[in-house]
Amino acid sequence: MYGDLAVKLVQDSKRTLSLDVLPSYQTDLVNAIIREIRDLQRDVKILIDQRGPNYRASQDRRVSCAIFVLQICMRRNKRCLLAYHRLRARRLETLVWSGFEASSIGSEEDSEGATALTERPSVASGWHPDEEEYLRGYGDVLAELKGEWTDIDLTGSMEPPRDLFIDVRVLKDAGEIQTEYGLITLTKNSQFYVRQGDVEQLIQQGYIQKLR
């Protein structure tokens, strides 16, 4: 029946809400819904054409009711499509805010630290290419906004700062960082007492972990 497919899409969206990882893009389902909308549109056209050019909605209640139902089905399908894509777009945006970069798509698997970073979104399996493009596009938009607020660091931590310095543990080798107190070499499993502002980015990228 009309709208059944869209319900499946909504169910998938619901599932997505409770998942940490963005699931595969439902290409077939989306295409099927688009097809359904076009079929409905064709039916509307046929109905109107049958009545000829002098058709007025008020004259033939039965036909106008049929058209009305078809229109509502189309709009409902569109709403479901929009909701699904909006949800996915928002998830992609969240990824960008958390420091995820589109360029790292595909390279994630071969890095040896991948298992240690289970809470990091594992990426790119089943995304649509258009979604990767949105990720990149939004990345640029956000980068420009961030560039206007360099002193503030928009993507910085949203937790109120309590201490200037924090204890951190290194989860995977991150090379050397330059701090005002000298050079620190971040090797796996080592612990440091460092300035939070110096390592914020690395925490977000999952290289190091804050200890409480």
Partner: protein, 237 residues
Amino acid sequence: MGDERDLEIDDLINNLDKEYHSAHPATNGSYLTIQKSRELNSLIQLWTHERTCPDILPYAHELLDTILDRVRGQIEVIEEYTTSADSSGNAKLKVLFVETELERVKFLVRGYLRARIHKIDNYYMHILNNPDVQRKLSQSELRYTKRRANQLKRYYNLRFLSSLPQLLQRLDDTAGGLQMVDEPDLDEVVFIRVLRDAPGEVDLGNDDKIELRKGNIYVLPYRVIRQYVDDGDVQLV
């Protein structure tokens, strides 16, 4: 031991103050301190307001500019201290004070901006369709809204929108009695604290009226007290 340490820190702060005055004899010290803490308080209030208010509030150009100037100033101070040869304990402690304070201010500004961006993301179509709302945004925010909207539209179009019948391709149609554009829900209830006795009673509809008394806290729909928030009679908490 603890007392001793507290004392030391108090002394140091006093010393800092004195040094500041001797270094800047032209400025009226006490006035400056009051002025500074007033701005910080305004920032805190601004941040709370933006986070609790369902609507997008006008961007606080003046306050933000002042605060940002000060942030830049403090960053310079820190850089000066760290590059100078003076590495005695006192100097380091001073830098620590400045840095801690700086991080806090940065956190507030960040929270403020992020709260705004969150609303902008949700209501971008509403913003783009209403010049009145656009005036509440800063240039940078408006630019961000437009660029993001373009990206989003492109994504929707590529995925499905352009394949739909012409009639259904709009992102902001209202046909069929359904409003597609998300708008801030002005009827969302907010907590308010009354700062001054407001003239008259607030009309809650349904013949319900309420008098706002100074110092009291109320929970009301944002719509009915909106004007009072703008006038500064009440404060969102």
